[in-house]
């Protein structure tokens, strides 16, 4: 087999893995958008906040240490204990739950029936608030997150491919784990929304508010639940991306990468977020590999957005989004 084809296969595989990570972020958007029609600009910051909180808790950092020190003149920073991963995860999930309740009670409860753009503006405000709050609570330094996911080259794949093609593929262990985690998460989410009472209520709210009320669904409760779920998804995305590149401000910018994924997959489809993520991930890697050298490279920066633009022109509802039909 020619070297170029083998190398292309490796690029393809890596593209798939990257796509899974994009899909993880896009999922959080879809959950909230489906149930409440809110485009949550803060999804990326939620991932950052969740990852920061997890690091802070596991390392036993004192929340608001800088603030306390500045006011009281003390010099506290750590409690001096370490929390294990599982317990840290549970505590972080509880904080994400609390956050969901606050977001609903303080902000969106008062904005029911407002225009989409107003809800969107509110989430921009929320994003900046959470960004500041995260820094205030846990400090603005770059943190390393280690929840025990192995990193580095997967030797088994390297060896196997070397035996077959005489060329070892470089696949990161973290990417493999991320893929497995993402698939479990998606299956769990689909199972929850299809086969449980609350999932059914969630779909009902997404479909028709009035009808949902008439069958006894509390919109408030469902919205809190959806924000909580989006918070959990953000936590998973934050863990994976945070492990990969450190917990720092740039983590919140992954939200921008999720946008083209949503354009492709449609804002309302969970499978769409997955497929969209994979297409973007593979597409940008393959494009860089095949076309990049001809036009000077660095295509990864814009490929996803141009693809999204094409979709906006020719298929605005995305691949899996609900078709926009106007009955006359």
């Amino acid at each position: 087999m020619p070297e170029q084809v083998i190398f292309g296969m490796e690029v393809f595989l890596n593209g798939l893995m990257a796509g899974v990570l994009y899909a993880l972020v896009a999922l959080g958007f879809v959950l909230i958008y489906k149930a409440s029609g809110i485009f949550n600009y803060a999804q990326g910051v939620m991932a950052l906040f969740a990852a920061m909180t997890l690091v802070g808790i596991m390392e036993g950092r004192v929340p608001f240490a800088h603030l306390i020190n500045a006011i009281l003149g003390t010099k506290i920073h750590h409690f001096g204990w370490h929390v294990n991963t599982l317990f840290g995860l549970i505590l972080t999930m509880l904080i994400m739950l609390l956050l969901a309740v606050l977001v609903q009670k303080v902000i969106f409860k008062h904005l029911v029936n407002q225009e989409g753009i107003i809800l969107f503006m509110a989430t921009i405000g929320l994003a900046y608030f959470m960004e500041g709050m995260g820094d205030l609570m846990w400090g603005g330094d770059i943190k390393t997150l280690d929840v025990g996911i192995p990193q580095g080259i997967n030797l088994w794949i390297d060896e196997t491919t070397y035996n077959i093609f005489d060329y070892g593929f470089f696949i990161d262990n973290l990417d493999i784990y991320a893929t497995v985690i993402a698939f479990i998460l998606v299956l769990a989410l689909i199972g929850f929304s299809q086969y449980t009472k609350q999932g059914r209520a969630m779909r009902a709210v997404a479909d028709d508010h009035q009808a949902a009320l008439s069958v006894g669904v509390s919109l408030n409760f469902i919205w809190i639940m959806v924000w909580t779920l989006a918070g959990f998804v953000a936590l998973v995305a934050g863990i994976v991306w945070g492990t990969k590149s450190g917990v720092q401000f740039s983590l919140s910018l992954i939200a921008l990468k999720a946008l083209p994924v949503l354009m492709l997959g449609g804002f309302t489809s969970i499978p769409g977020a997955i497929v969209g993520g994979l297409i973007i991930g593979v597409g940008e890697k393959m494009f860089e590999f095949l076309v990049g050298p001809l036009i000077g490279g660095a295509t990864e920066n814009w490929f996803a957005y141009v693809l999204a633009l094409l979709f906006l022109v020719f298929r605005p509802q995305g691949l899996f989004g609900e078709k926009i039909i106007e009955r006359v």
Binding site: K197, A204, A206, D207, Q210
Partner: protein
């Protein structure tokens, strides 16, 4: 209904009990517009109660007051002998009051069966964590509720479209699915907002039969709004007539038919 609660029996042998719901001096305003003006009436257990009137008379507003979508500025709603505070629509649903909508409010993206299953939400007890983990009661509950839904689906003769997404159904069937969803919650009081609007004669006959059967077989109390006078007179035990937000008549179909104010409202009066 216990036998001791039965206060009267209709000509066709159905049992009617005491007062289930009582509206006392309800006034509802939207800004300067008075939609309902000082209306009182009651609904007896087991009866079919119709609300009729010309367009814009305030009938739907009245139904929305009963189901908690609107809150009247004045007046009281009494349910099962207790004054009801200003409750949210979902709380009303949980008290056993189901409804359908004039313009059909179904979950278009879901199948017929899923739509009917949402009717069971008020009856399912297991909490969010049990459900998320599919724990113990959750699975059994799902199966039990499924069984009840299948019965309702059989009853309304929509077996053949169980798995069809609602968006694909014709209008008349959508109306029937909406009724199925309301019935699935095993309501004490069923509110129907123009259940036969826009239907052809055959569909109307089917729907009338279903309404009568529901009342007869399950003893469900029904309050309905309808334009078709023939249908109303055939179906209902008692009729409230509204016009311009006021009550202009209340009684059996025969009494209402001979009421001069009602005749004027429907046929108009000369102003010379």
């Amino acid at each position: 209904m216990l036998d001791s609660q039965v206060t009267q029996t209709t000509a066709d042998g159905r049992k009617i009990g005491g007062v289930m719901m009582e509206m006392k001096n309800i006034t509802l305003r939207f800004g300067g517009v008075v939609a309902i003006k000082d209306i009182s009436f009651d609904i007896l257990e087991g009866e079919i109660r119709a609300i009729i009137g010309p367009n814009g008379a305030g009938k739907s507003s009245m139904l929305n007051v009963i189901s908690g979508f609107y809150h009247p500025q004045d007046g009281e709603v009494w349910f099962h002998g207790k004054k009801r505070p200003a409750v949210k629509p979902y709380e009303v649903a949980r008290q056993g009051i189901a409804r359908t909508f004039q313009n059909i409010a179904l979950f278009e993206g879901m199948t017929v069966l899923d739509n009917v299953m949402t009717g069971r939400l008020t009856q399912m007890k297991s909490g969010v964590f049990q459900q998320a983990l599919w724990w113990g009661a959750a699975e059994r509950e799902e199966l039990e509720n499924r069984e009840i839904c299948e019965k309702v689906i059989d009853f309304l003769e929509i077996q053949s479209i169980r798995k069809t997404p609602v968006a694909r159904l014709p209008y008349g069937l959508k109306k029937r699915v909406e009724l199925a969803r309301a019935l699935a919650s095993e309501p004490k009081l069923l509110l129907l907002d123009e259940p036969m609007a826009g239907m052809n004669v055959e569909e109307k006959e089917d729907m009338s039969r279903f309404i009568l059967d529901v009342n007869d077989e399950f003893g469900t109390t029904i309050a309905l709004i309808e334009h078709d006078m023939g249908v109303v007179m055939d179906l209902s035990d008692r009729v409230v007539v509204m016009d311009y937000g006021r009550k202009i008549g209340d009684g059996t179909p025969d009494e209402v038919r001979n009421n001069q104010a009602v005749i004027d409202a429907y046929l108009g009066v000369s102003h010379d």
